[in-house]
Symmetry: C2
Subunit: 133 residues, 2 copies
């Protein structure tokens, strides 16, 4: 899942079921590229669409647009048109999106530390039930 969570959560909310706090938050940045988008916008400021494409070369044009649209719908980022010879779309974090940054940052830190541990123990790619307890 990536993005299944988002659909499920929206469904539950529609049914008046608000008992899904963690999943709700998870749904904000689940879905491919979303964490990265939030992270970059949060730490480096506004980006144009075409800049994001360069930043995430593996993300297809379509998916990038789709994810940005969802992030806007969720209120995490804002979208502004900038005129010129060619129209450019500027994306940046909203205050709501910024409030999510600490969580993303701690995910970054946790991941970095854990990856170093795995690396040092010569467990290059086994995330497994090694003796890291």
């Amino acid at each position: 899942m990536t993005d299944t969570v988002r659909k499920l959560v929206r469904q539950r909310l529609k049914n008046g079921d608000y008992t899904c706090r963690k999943e709700f938050t998870l749904a904000m940045f689940s879905g491919k590229w979303k964490v990265n988008i939030i992270y970059h916008l949060g730490h480096e400021g506004t980006y144009y669409f075409y800049q994001l494409q360069t930043l995430l070369p593996n993300a297809s044009h379509k998916e990038l647009a789709k994810k940005l649209k969802e992030l806007v719908a969720d209120g995490l980022i804002s979208r502004e048109e900038e005129d010129g010879p060619r129209i450019k779309m500027a994306y940046s974090l909203t205050p709501l999106g910024e409030s999510l940054l600490p969580i993303i940052d701690s995910m970054y830190d946790w991941g970095e530390q854990r990856l170093q541990e795995l690396h040092m123990n010569n467990v290059p790619f086994n995330l497994g039930p090694v003796k890291n307890d």
Copy 2:
């Protein structure tokens, strides 16, 4: 994704690409039911498999087993056999799993606060581009 992240990350690590800290962490609890499992084990202690089934009535037997297996493989939870008339499997968080709790907890808090905002603004199920900036 639910769980696509996990596969992708493992693949990247295999290729020696360690530049995926956030995604790596995300992969730990992405995938249906995982956040809940971690949360429950973290805050309420050890659970037997059949207790988890009761706790998460919507999770299928198969998926629950599968997710638990992955969590064990990732080193977040431990699995212990307990003999008796019927064998029971006891699951609990490892120290590594516990180190993830703060993140899950902040996700819980963020979600709770955001859901309250939405509720108060009479935006029962629209997660949308409302004027909550």
